[in-house]
Symmetry: C2
Subunit: 263 residues, 2 copies
DNA sequence: AATAAGGTTTCATTATTTGGAACAATCCGA
DNA sequence: TCGGATTGTTCCAAATAATGAAACCTTATT
């Protein structure tokens, strides 16, 4: 037996440590100084220093000599291109998102699960043109977004338990579910219902309906949501969009399964 | 003295090897089997196997159990979001690209240099909406694209020499420059001229004019190009767009320098 | 000029990676 | 159904690379 499952705990080997450092740099969202990183990482000075050097050499980080700061490197952009095309639903789902966007005229998100968090891989704005990398690649919490709850609800039991454990419950709004028990009950309800709602749990005034994208075998591939504001629409109004949403989710699932690379 | 410069040769340490494997997987552009990778990498079986396991554990690769294939993982997409925002000119350049696109009505590329290759970080199509990750993150050759030549021309002498060495000259068309000497002469001319042209060197019927984006100190930050086809326009026609192009390049450079992160 | 803070290098110790070879599982043609 | 490939996985002693405390530079600060 082997563990092919996703790394819940920490680091295997040097590579793991290096990648943790990558995350640390990326998480900051701005160029970081050595000392800042040192404060957060629990590696000794010399170790962290060498990891940073290696990553910089490899183009995974860039180092600004003038300001003495590290930032994520362009090699990532190149690699991500491949990842987005191959491992995300986005390229397959694109035409379906376009159609749904046209039909409902609201903001649409396509998301997948990554390390207990929601990773947005594509988006359509209510009207405006789409926003490149600045939107795709964004992450969000699992426990208080429509897509997050939709995906977690349909995870196999043990994966679901792991995912719940990874949540860092924080009360973004008065309606946020702030503990594992409440979340579990909600997920049961979602599983029964087939879709999930975000009832202003992440942001005041923002609501959404979301559906999981499930493979024929029931595996969670991702989730799809329609988002709006309480000023434009209501939860009941979103409920009316449910058929369009679930149909699109089904179509994406089918397309993904049938297209699995020619060869 | 230290080597902070980019890795021209190969691997430092385990991390380097792991990242090489990442490249190998990403380069294929489709899910890969263990044996395929084994054939190309010069690592022994067991070593490659463990590297793949580590990367999979880390979410840098995904493993499809059914098909026994590896593909780039979603963790990359998350990291790339940060990279694109912080290390690329794209977020800063966006409004300028929009304006230029509006003005000239042709395809526009924003590129940066990565390991001797051209990395496209943003794009505007002649008319259609833009194309997310499917366009950003793409790579192209340095020696036969307008942006590639524009950037190489303005590199410091030793970096330029390195970059030229990394080119894998291939005659895409009869007009492609196919050796280092021809390329060097061309780069001299470009440096004198201030802009570069792609005279159907990469693809028959496709021409472009490109300008480097240079910092106040003369460092190459990227390049900007306007692309068209010989059916729509001519090299002389592109020459007329030169002022718009170089002005935009200058504006982007200024914006990039003045905005260098508040803090 | 002295002190502090941030960053870089050294080197003996320690832990991880290595890879040949044995092992298991799966596929294929007869 | 049976060999014989082919492909993927595990072992373990030897080789190698990572470690981190401390010393050492190098800029800022007073």
């Amino acid at each position: 037996m082997n563990r092919q499952t996703t790394n819940g705990g920490h680091a295997d080997g040097t590579v793991g440590k290096a990648l943790d450092v990558m995350d640390l740099v990326a998480a900051r969202g701005r160029p970081v100084r050595f000392a800042e990183l040192l404060a957060e990482s629990d590696h000794p000075k010399a170790t962290l220093y060498r990891l940073l050097q290696t990553l910089t050499n490899q183009g995974m980080l860039t180092y600004d000599e003038a300001r003495q700061t590290y930032a994520p490197g362009l090699r990532l952009v190149r690699l991500a291109h491949a990842a987005w095309q191959q491992s995300s639903l986005a390229p397959i789902a694109r035409p379906f998102l376009d159609a749904l966007s046209e039909q409902v005229g609201e903001t649409i998100h396509l998301a997948q699960m990554d390390q207990g968090q929601v990773l947005y891989v594509d988006k359509r704005n209510a009207r405006k043109p789409i926003d490149m990398f600045s939107e795709a690649g964004k992450i969000g919490p699992g426990y208080c977004t429509g897509v997050g709850k939709a995906m977690m609800a349909f995870l196999p039991e043990d994966d679901r338990a792991k995912a719940i454990n990874m949540q860092a419950f924080f009360a973004h709004t008065p309606r946020t579910l702030t503990d594992a028990e409440a979340l579990e009950r909600e997920l049961d309800a979602i599983r029964a219902e087939g879709v999930s709602f975000d009832r202003e749990e992440h942001e005041q005034g923002i609501i959404c309906i979301a559906a999981p994208i499930l493979s024929a075998t029931g595996r969670v591939m991702g989730a799809l949501s329609i988002t709006t504001s309480t000023q434009r629409n209501t939860l009941d109004g979103l409920e009316k969009l449910r058929p369009a949403l679930t149909e699109t989710a089904t179509k994406i699932a089918e397309a993904a399964e049938s297209w699995q690379f020619p060869g």
